[in-house]
């Protein structure tokens, strides 16, 4: 529980959320407060406990290998902020 402003900025960068220095200053104590409270979980002995996988017993179903969807380019692109020639477009990526 030692989240400093640098950590806040690093986490925000991982999460792709632009934050200002002032935001980071404000968020650091806030996150510390929450994380400090969360850390009481550490006192629970879980050495012989399995992590929960399915909250209600249920089996993963597998679907048949059948094409059921497609040829709906207009629908897929309908809400796109920017697109042309049937593509979504983004600022040019240099690889």
């Amino acid at each position: 529980m030692s989240v400093d402003t640098a950590t806040v900025k690093k986490v925000a960068s991982l999460a792709r959320i632009a934050i200002s220095d002032a935001d980071a200053e404000r968020l650091a104590p806030e996150l510390n407060n929450i994380l400090g409270w969360i850390e009481q979980l550490g006192e629970v002995d879980t050495s012989s406990v399995e992590p929960m996988t399915a909250v209600i017993p249920n089996k993963l179903r597998l679907r048949e290998d059948v094409v059921t969807e497609g040829n709906q380019r207009d629908a897929v692109l309908q809400n796109a902020p920017q697109g042309e020639h049937g593509f979504f477009t983004v600022p040019k990526v240099v690889e």
Partner: protein, 494 residues
């Protein structure tokens, strides 16, 4: 004679069927109510044309002597977390402002297939993250309730399904959909004097519901009484192959089998829920509830849920972790907001878009979730939380070896004033202390109105059941409802 809008789901359905009033009259009455209630800010979008179309279909079917659908003539409100085809779906975020899905969520489709009409999309906490409906990009929902004694401070309708709770309490809709991740149906129901049930995880399909935390999210109905909840739930639940976590089970006849007779039932009172600092009024109401269920024939036993105090911290690891990943898709590429200044690259665009599109609480939770999953912290936080979650579920399993249902308060307080807790995230999180454990264990749980506090505000009691025992939960809810005689309603000021 009372107004049409004072009637609930069952009464409207039966009245249309009996020809007491037409579906069109019902729709018109509610549409007028909705249009006059802007001050509550319960709706993000109003859709009178949808409600009218459903009403017309019901009236035509009746005129032709055709069998009526289960919800024919009943208009409802739809929480704006459910994708509705061609109707803006925002999750109360700037990010999705203007987004019109080309698809319909399974739950809303089931309701339309059952003949229900939509009065509009209901406001909520942004991406369902909040307990007061103060995180909506489209403004706070104001509870129709006010404290007695001339205190006009606007109150929170609870959250995240605050538009739903406010609209039902204000008689703008007879029923509505809600979603519950850590208490988002039950807590707002308690705050506004209505009923609401979160069914067993997997009963209602999550397909087409904007995701918050996938392993916790569950849709459910909110209405003014238990029977109405049963009717709506029957028309929302059911297997959906498109949701891998959907339960492949038939939908029980909850309405038909509804009974408030609790003879032979054992009801557990979890001792860990008697938290220090819980207001006396709430403890007293809880005792009153115990007396009511005994009166209905139940045997009451004390039980222990030893890991209760860890439920909230567990929840505040798992839910933000899942959310941080679920909300990664909002990147300004395929739909929704895009923020892109001249000369910015792709990664700049992501960061700017997400900074502008997500409100502060959503950003806070994404940051917490990102942090607890990041390299070096995963085991200490996420794995540990997943293990404690197992222990919390085991607590319930153990308790259910000696009882059938659990009775607890729904929330540690009555509705608070807007702004009262919004400065302190942790204080806000603590509001979910009684609702979160059942969410972590995937159990069915409901809140029913049980009384008023000294300020005249509603208080709710929560019933938690074994997996799949919605029938038992509804039955105990009905027993309390029958004895509580809760008839209070907010005085119209809007």
């Amino acid at each position: 004679m009372s107004e049409i809008t004072d009637l609930g789901v069952a009464a409207l359905r039966d009245g249309v069927r009996a020809g007491t009033f037409s579906a069109r009259e019902v729709a018109d009455a509610f549409i007028v109510k909705v249009s006059k209630a802007k001050a509550l800010n319960a709706f993000i979008v109003e859709t009178p044309e949808h409600a009218l179309a459903a009403a017309t279909a019901a009236d035509e079917a009746l005129a032709k002597g055709e069998a009526l659908k289960p919800l024919a003539g009943v208009p409802i409100g739809m929480k704006d977390l459910f994708a509705t085809k061609g109707v803006q779906t925002t999750a109360a975020s700037h990010m999705l402002e203007g987004f019109k899905p080309v698809y319909e969520s399974t739950v809303s489709q089931k309701l339309w297939d059952a003949g229900a009409g939509m009065l509009g999309k209901l406001n909520l906490d942004q991406f369902a993250m909040g307990s007061s409906n103060e995180t909506s990009y489209f403004g706070n929902v104001i509870s129709p309730w006010r404290r007695g004694g001339g205190d006009n401070a606007p109150l929170a309708p609870g959250g995240s399904s605050g538009g739903s709770s406010a609209a039902i309490a204000a008689r703008l809709v007879p029923g509505a959909t809600g979603t519950d991740t850590g208490g988002s149906i039950r807590q707002p129901a308690a705050f506004t004097g209505i009923s609401g049930i979160k069914p067993t995880y997997g009963r209602c399909s999550r397909w087409g519901v904007v995701a918050f935390a996938s392993s916790l999210d569950q849709a459910g109905p909110m209405a003014r009484d238990v029977k109405d909840c049963a009717i709506l739930l029957e028309n929302m639940a059911g297997f959906d192959a498109k949701d891998s976590t959907s339960l492949n089970l038939p939908v029980p006849k909850w309405e038909e089998l509804l009974s408030g007779d609790l003879k032979g039932k054992k009801i557990g009172i979890p001792k860990e829920y008697r938290l220090d600092g819980t207001p006396e009024e709430i403890l007293a109401l809880w005792d009153q509830g115990i007396a009511w269920v005994k009166d209905a024939g139940a045997e009451v036993v004390e039980v222990s849920l030893p890991h209760t105090k860890y439920a909230l911290p567990t929840y505040y690891i798992i839910a933000p972790a899942e959310a941080s990943s679920n909300l990664a898709r909002y990147d300004g590429v395929r739909y929704g907001l895009r923020e892109l200044a001249d000369g910015q690259n792709l990664q700049d665009m992501y960061a700017a878009t997400r900074a502008a599109g997500f409100g502060p609480e959503v950003q806070r939770r994404i940051l917490i979730g990102t942090y607890v999953l990041s390299a070096g912290f995963y085991d200490a936080y996420f794995t540990q939380a997943s293990k404690v979650r197992t222990l919390i579920a085991q607590d319930f399993e153990n308790a259910f070896t000696v009882c059938d249902l659990l009775l607890t308060p729904t929330a540690p307080s009555a509705a608070f004033a807007l702004g009262e807790k919004s400065a302190d995230p942790l204080a806000m999180y603590l509001n979910d202390v009684f609702t979160v454990p059942a969410s972590l264990a995937g159990l069915p749980a409901m809140s029913v109105p049980a009384g008023l506090d000294s300020a005249g505000l509603p208080l709710g009691l929560q019933i938690i059941g074994k997996p799949l025992d919605e029938q038992g939960v509804l039955g105990a809810g009905l027993a309390i409802e029958q004895r509580a005689g809760f008839t209070a309603r907010p005085e119209q000021w809007w």
